[in-house]
């Protein structure tokens, strides 16, 4: 480029005021974020949910009245809330020791075991369902084994009566505990170890140190994970459908709005779920308001990690191995299914074969699926990183009025049934440049991003809440603009939380089913999950071929997560506190 004096002058003038420019860019990004939320969350959802308020062509609240007039719905609401509470409590009980072990101890094999703890993140739940039925059917593998061993005389009904509820809760916990575990580990990593040491010198017993010092400081991180688990368990459709627990809100909604003759009361129930989500979220937030504390400084992280021998780590091994074993059960069952050539009412298949792998490798389905999944999930993760960090920053530092409302709004995607957002997109963007009918790539990436935005916002917000604003102010005194500071000071400080958020966003985007099902209509746009799903529905060898592709999918996600850990090296180590 030739540079004349005429062009150089304005350039210089601009450069002389980088601070204002940075601020301007920052607010532009913020404005764009808000516009994106309106365009891709508020608008499409309202185009669907307005049906809840229209009866016979007029505005009406009839459907809400009808909703409460039917005691099936009230039972469903009650059951769903109970599932949410139970799943959250159990996730907490399970994740807390796991996170403490990861953050505070070093022992042989820790890296491998803590890595394996994340296995639920590499398995699409519906793929796990294939194995679930094989194992827990009345004459499934587990009962057959117990019968064979003479431990029981007649098959145990795993999914009868009250057991169905606990089956749902158990499956939710096994699927969701990594969310609490990751957030809690990041929160513990942020706590200055000298805070506990000080208490140790005062003679505060370990449990009281935990209760009075560690817990209050890790609470924002815990809350970040727990609220997601609660809302997820509250609104999860797949699991109750799988075990046949009909009396939950998501199943009721699903039944009403996927009925060939859709029932608008279903949309009223969606509105109610969103309201409940809002209320629960705000309630939980108010109860922890003013209770998030930043770390003024951080001590030497290494001193917090206690090295112990394999022998004294025995109880840790027991807990880790038991958790991993339970979490790996679906993976193993899928692997076995993909290899079985004949499996009829025996504990394990009678014959094994590699045919199903040959079958899928001869088609271009895996390749297209892998390519699309990586593209969609990777791009959506980057969008989440940008939007999520931005929103969290605005919310935590209260840069705009009604920041709390923005915060709650980002939680809405968690409460939305998959079909509502996806069809909202179809309705809103048909015959526009984004029409999924022509090419769904853009909308799929956006849908993935919007749906996983809560994980990133919560993770980033937890990190920011633990980081002192003084550190930013210090940078500001050097004349750094707010957004320059954000980039150079704040983001590096919360990198552990951002990485945790990215991992969750990426992995759960890779496992997406509902958006892909509706938006990725043509097979050249299929992500891996939809390819697996399409095969799964096939009669004959469908579930076996789907399992084989499911194994390919798990391998891919495992490689991605391992790759990320290699690439991030120390950062990841900081997160998992194992290296």
């Amino acid at each position: 480029m030739t540079q004349s004096t005429a062009t150089a002058a304005p350039l210089k003038a601009k450069r002389s005021n980088p601070r204002q420019m940075g601020t301007a860019i920052g607010y532009a990004v913020l404005a764009a974020t808000l516009v994106a939320l309106v365009l891709f969350l508020v608008l499409p959802v309202s185009t669907i949910l307005y049906k809840a308020f229209r009866a016979q062509g007029h505005f009406s609240l009839d459907y809400f009245r009808l909703l409460f007039a039917n005691d099936l719905q009230t039972t469903a609401i009650y059951n769903s809330l109970l599932i949410g509470v139970a799943a959250t409590l159990l996730c907490t009980v399970l994740s807390l020791p796991l996170a403490v072990i990861n953050a505070r101890y070093e022992f042989p094999g820790k890296k491998l075991l803590t890595g394996l703890l994340l296995t639920p993140m590499v398995m699409p739940p519906f793929v796990g369902a294939i194995g679930f039925q094989r194992f827990f059917a009345r004459r499934g593998s587990v009962n057959l084994l117990l019968l064979k061993l003479g431990l029981i005389d007649s098959p145990i009904e795993w999914l009868e009566g009250g057991r169905v509820f606990w089956a749902v809760v158990a499956l939710e916990v096994l699927h969701l505990y990594p969310i609490v575990y990751l957030n809690l580990t990041a929160a513990l990593a942020n706590i200055d170890p000298s805070l506990e040491e000080m208490a140790t010198t005062l003679g505060v017993p370990r449990w009281r140190q935990f209760k009075d010092i560690v817990w209050p400081l890790a609470r924002s991180g815990y809350f970040a994970g727990a609220i997601i688990v609660f809302i997820w368990a509250l609104t999860d459709l797949g699991t109750p459908l799988l075990v046949g627990f009909q009396e939950t809100m998501p199943v009721r909604i699903f039944n009403m709005i996927t009925d060939v003759n859709e029932n608008p009361v279903g949309y009223a129930l969606v509105c109610l779920v969103i309201l409940i989500t809002f209320a629960v979220y705000l309630l939980a937030k108010t109860s922890t308001r003013g209770k998030s504390y930043d770390m003024m400084s951080r001590g030497h992280v290494s001193s917090a990690v206690k090295k112990i021998s394999a022998v004294s780590a025995a109880p840790f091994y027991l807990l880790l191995v038991a958790t991993i074993a339970a979490a790996l059960l679906p993976h193993i069952s899928v692997l076995i299914t993909s290899l079985s050539s004949k499996w009829f009412m025996t504990v394990l298949p009678e014959q094994y074969t590699l045919d199903y792998y040959k079958q899928i490798l001869h088609t271009d389905l895996p390749l297209i699926g892998i390519k699309n999944s990586l593209l969609f999930s990777g791009s959506s993760m980057l969008i989440d990183l940008l939007l999520g960090a931005m929103i969290a920053y605005v919310v935590v530092r209260k840069l705009i009025p009604f920041a709390g409302l923005l915060d709650a709004l980002t939680m809405v995607p968690l409460a939305l049934p998959g079909i509502v957002l996806a069809f909202g997109y179809v309705t809103t963007y048909t015959n526009t440049i984004l029409d999924p009918f022509t090419n769904p790539t853009a909308l799929l990436i956006i849908a993935y991003a919007v749906r996983r935005l809560p994980y990133m916002v919560r993770s980033a917000a937890a990190g920011l809440a633990q980081t002192s604003i003084a550190l930013e102010e210090a940078a500001a005194t050097f004349g750094a603009s707010r957004f320059y500071t954000l980039r150079t000071i704040t983001v590096p400080l919360v990198s552990a939380n951002l990485i945790a958020g990215c991992l969750l966003c990426f992995a759960y985007a890779m496992l997406d089913v509902s958006d892909s099902l509706i938006l990725a209509m043509k097979d050249r746009y299929y992500p891996l999950t939809k390819a697996i799903y399409a095969l799964f529905l096939e009669q004959g060898s469908g579930e076996f071929v789907a399992s084989a592709l499911g194994v390919v999918g798990m391998a891919l996600l495992t490689v991605c997560i391992l790759g990320a850990s290699l690439m991030l090296g120390k950062k990841m180590g900081e997160l998992f506190r194992s290296g």
Binding site: S194, E197, T201, L202, G203, D212, Y293, M296, G299
Partner: protein, 365 residues
């Protein structure tokens, strides 16, 4: 409470952080552990606190072996370098939290809290959260919290390192005052020799995990046992020299730029033995008026650089073998010394210290 280290060592893997430490800390003293970063002083303090366990050796509190006693049962109060204030508790709660674990009546507890607040002049800030306090105030909270439990030994880990220079001076006085008032045996870790010299009743200098010398500040300054200490405590000129024998009640040393005579040899020397000579900048006298006076160690040096500071002048002088010696002149008379000219100096043989040769003089500064 008298504190004793008896052959204490601490290893991290293969790294020896503290090596065979033997030290007695007198009851009621304000004892400094001084050394450059990485010398093992913080580890020593943490061993004392019971936050780390010794690899070998014993730690005694007033004759009682506390080596395997947990931190809580040692009766120590600790101030961390970053203060380790609990950000979710108010000043009062931070201080009171430790008291809550002692068997104290409500009245006693309240009384102790008020005492600690008054001692550290924090009474007005009792209801604030740490995040709302200045650095100095936070430091005082940390101190109050450690004092409130009436420890038998108070441990301070670089308590002033996060403060600005002005505040640091203020806090030095504060801590000294509190120590005088409470008479608690205090162990104070720092890398700042001025802090150690100005406040300490005794100073232990550590280097690479080893105790080099332990002495009251004056003795440490005037009688360092190694070149390292001579350099670390205050400023000094170190010169390699060889002992050549006695001459008229003086010891005669040969160095790169001539001969130096010293008095009061501390150790028995044999001719040809290599030593390090140390003399402080203020012990070099410069003849500013040019008049020749008889002297024992006359030196002709080139004035390399002169820094005028009002009440004193600092001179950098180059020897014939290109070593730089530093001299300080206090209350200098008016003169017209020019940089680059030769000046006549004298080093008082009384003030030249004969120290053993150290392998690496450059390290540890």
């Amino acid at each position: 409470m008298e504190v004793t280290f008896d052959h204490v060592s601490k290893k991290y893997g293969d790294v020896l952080a503290v090596e065979d430490l033997n030290l007695k800390i007198a009851e009621g003293s304000l004892h400094f552990l001084l050394g450059p970063s990485g010398c093992g002083k913080t580890t020593t303090l943490r061993l004392l606190a019971g936050l780390e366990s010794t690899t070998s050796g014993r730690i005694l509190f007033g004759g009682k072996d506390v080596t395997s006693l947990p931190a809580a049962e040692r009766g120590i109060g600790m101030v961390f370098q970053n203060y380790a204030l609990w950000p979710h508790m108010t000043v009062a709660k931070n201080i009171d939290y430790g008291l809550g674990l002692k068997r104290l009546s409500r009245v006693q507890r309240e009384q102790r809290l008020q005492e600690a607040l008054e001692l550290t002049q924090l009474t007005r800030l009792a209801d604030r959260l740490p995040g709302q306090l200045s650095g100095g105030q936070q430091q005082r909270v940390a101190l109050a919290r450690a004092l409130a439990i009436r420890p038998t030994v108070l441990l301070l880990d670089e308590p002033l390192s996060n403060l600005d220079a002005q505040l640091r001076l203020e806090m030095r006085d504060n801590i000294s005052r509190i120590h005088r008032q409470t008479k608690i045996t205090t162990v104070y870790v720092t890398h700042d020799q001025k802090e150690a010299l100005s406040m300490g009743t005794e100073v232990s200098v550590l280097r690479a995990g080893r105790l080099i010398q332990s002495a009251p500040p004056r003795q440490l300054y005037h009688h360092p046992e190694t070149p390292f200490i001579a350099r670390f405590i205050g400023e000094t000129n170190l010169v390699h020299a060889t002992y050549r024998g006695d001459d008229d009640g003086h010891h005669l040393f040969e160095c790169g730029f001539g001969h130096l005579l010293t008095k009061r040899p501390k150790q028995v020397l044999s001719p040809g033995q290599a030593v390090t000579l140390s003399f402080r900048p203020e012990t070099i006298s410069v003849q500013v008026d040019g008049a020749a006076r008889p002297s024992v160690n006359p030196l002709r040096l080139v004035l390399e650089h002169l820094t005028y500071l009002g009440e004193s002048e600092q001179l950098a002088l180059r020897t014939s073998d290109q070593q730089i010696l530093r001299a300080n002149i206090f209350n200098p008379p008016e003169h017209d010394l020019q940089e680059g000219t030769v000046v006549v100096c004298n080093v008082d043989p009384e003030h030249i210290l004969v120290l053993p040769v150290e392998h690496d003089l450059s390290s540890g500064t």
